[in-house]
Amino acid sequence: MLFNSIDFLMFFPIVVLLCLIIPRKLRYLWLLAASYYFYMCWNAKYAFLLLAVTLCTYLSGLFLPRCRRAFTRRLTLVSCILLNLGLLFYFKYFDLFLNTFNRIFSRLHFQLADRGFDIILPVGISFYIFQSIGYVIDVYRNEILPEKNPFRYALFVSFFPKLVAGPIERSGNLLEQLRELDRKPLLEPGCVSGGLTLMVWGLFVKMVIADRVAILVNTVFEQFYLYGTVALLAGAFGFALQIYCDFMGYSTIAAGAARVLGIRLMDNFDTPYFSRSISEFWRRWHISLSSWFRDYLYIPLGGNRCSRFRKYFNIMVTMSLSGLWHGADWSCVAWGLLHGFYQVAGDLTRSVRQKIYTSLSAKTNSFSFHLAQVVSTFLLVDFAWIFFKADSISIAFAFCKRIFTKWDPWSFFNGEIYTLGLDRPEFNILFVSVTVLFLVDLIRYKKKQNIVEFLQEQCIWFRWGAVILLAASILVFGIYGVKFESSQFIYFQY
């Protein structure tokens, strides 16, 4: 059940209305049932997997405080993590492992199996397994009390707004709110209007921008060998826009749906394309995952309080695993490594760059300097996205090679750009929508206000006008219905 489907349009109001009717104390049980139904709409069988992960981490959480010996505690933690990662490996990475193994050993005429086991990737598995592991580590570190109520804990793992594409919630945030759910009045005015506004904004970003630019991106990436520099750059920049709007759109709808139900999910995006360095980008992009890797992997590995070499090692390990988390494909690992390399190179060249700036008397606090940093960071990020989007590393290299060798500036002027799946009116709609997105992000960047906070400060005519305009734009210009197949959210595959 996609957020941008008629099914969800019926499902969500029913969930909210029944929440109003059901006694407060039973509300979490209703949300749990609704969450499992939501998940089972994709594949009913995999509800058992969700249940297994929930049971494993719930029991580990209960058992950990009772372990008196440090060894037993550690053994419990490691067993629980390995079991969960084992499930993740089996369902997500086994085929990759098998194919790689066979490719390496094929010269020795040795192979494990002819082909993969044709395992369907359970939707959202990486999200709920990471969230559950995070909970167990938090309990291990005594940062949170274990949840005794199995149903409440099950709701923490399966809460439907964030179940299939995050954010990867922290027990300190979500579990604490679920514990307070009995005592909170439902449908608080600010929560409902704010939540619905967030949902409308998320749907606008997903259906009007991401799904529209996806048409161009898919055209270019599927037949990259036919196109020159201009089209390939359009495809590459288009993908940066697509993946941001797709994932940010999902996270915003999730946050909105949760807020209507009285739950505040953590922010997952904070204007990442305004970042002035790659490390800043990772503090603003997919925040829940970045902070998860920071807290549960990078810092335990030693973080940056160690030798320079060890620090770079930690960065490369973290970023490559982050890449692997994003997809069971070596091109995703390459994408992660590229980001690791950017950070290492940035750190290594920092003093040199500072010297150059000083010798040139560069005004490092000026708008132009900041703009140059933002643009260069974006270009680096976008270059890496090519590896993320391409089907393989070799295709990514071929794509990049064509960008630099098939120079065709005339196609920018002769209308060829309008043959990439989006004609002139579609480009016009895209341009206006992206301008709106830019303004909303700019407000967030400058004023530290999200769209709801900004609108709440405005006059009623502007507030209503903006929301109605966004909703009408979704209905008219959104990519849905018969003519276009609604594309799934990109991050569902993780």
């Binding site: 209007s193 209905l475 276009f484």
Partner: protein, 472 residues
Amino acid sequence: MKRKRALQSILFCVVFLIVINGIYPVLSWKDTGGDYHSVFDTFYDLDGDLVDVLFMGSSRCYCAINNSILWNEYGIASISLSISGQDLASTYYCLVEALKTQTPKVVCIESYGAVFDGYEVIGNLYRNTLPYKLSPNSYEAAQSIVTEGNPLDYWLKWPIVHTRYSELTRKDFETDFPAYLGYSADFHTEPIQNTPLYTGKEAVPTSERNEEYLRRIIALAKEHDISLCFFVAPYAASEKEQKIYNYVKQLAEENQAAFLNMLTLDDELGMDVQTDYINWFHTNYFGAEKISHYMGRYLKEHYSLPDRHGDGRYALWDEDAIVRQHEVQNELVLRKTSDMTDYLTLLPQLDGYTVFLSTDGKYISDNSGTDVLEYLRGLGVNEEYYTGRHIWIWEDGQIIYTSPDTDFLEYGDLPGAEYALISSKIANSVLIDRTSHRKTPDGINIVVYDNVLKEVVDSIGFYSIESYSTIR
């Protein structure tokens, strides 16, 4: 505080619905039998209990039955809820929809729907599902008619029609369309090869689904005490199709419904395979004229139908007759006239038109022997003007504008369009909706705008250098 919040929420929803309600008519599907011809729009605007005869069926029906002939000659108030590709299931749901507001005395169903099943053309599926208003009947129609894709999309319409944003034209934003009762006049002629008439009694059953809906139509008509008349408009039907019509005939007669097989009435109708068809299974304007006269006589003879002429509630039928008359005049008179003197003689007789005439370049021929000045004088052009380069406008045969001697720029409105007249030392130009209609640099240019159909219906130039030869 809570009440204020609740009121605000309700008000917000109302405003939102008003906005959406304003957008929907723009995006809505406006085609049941050709671009921007939706008989459902006419139907939903009708007052209740006006229609005496309801025609239904596929495009063969709206090509064969000219409602304006039934009105002009027999005073029959009819409407054709016929839609391209309409199958019998769609006919049934259309009938249910029609009976919500109308109580026709006779329902005539063109029976081509009995020889095919379902929809191969997606456009026809849209035409048969999207014009409905939201109701349980339209929901059931979508569920029954749509076999591929999600019927809910077709019922809600938005998932389909919203994609029209990229194809919107000026007509989508207009609300004032010429009257349309379902008949689509087509003047194209293509000789066809008629198939042998099957005179045997053998009857081949129609599909189970078609029979089910035939029976449902019959039952519905009985329930509402409506006379049913199944008919087959002339075309080159195959033998198998004719046997299926025999089956429909049996079914009709078993249920006391009339069956009029026009395939057997070529002589009575006077159909001519050389002149009366658009293609092998659609009749053109000339064929429709013959069929409609026959149908009018048949209906008058067999059913008690009142003559509605003079009844103020039937103004729409009068408007429709004028529209159809304009279509005929434009196609068979105006566009068929090529000789300049004939054309100039015709112009003063045009009622309901705005005519733009411009003289340009060397517009007086030196060697043609045609006294163009005499004809212009005959049109009421002042002599002191017609030796210069000018533009004149006639409305309903009367001059309403003469351009000045100097360079000029004039612009104004027509019903459903705007015009601009531009004159410089180089040329004269008449622009209707920003499109220039200048055909010749030397001679006379004429643009005829139909104020009823709200479109340019002819644009012609007479080239003086070559003896006022015609350029269209």
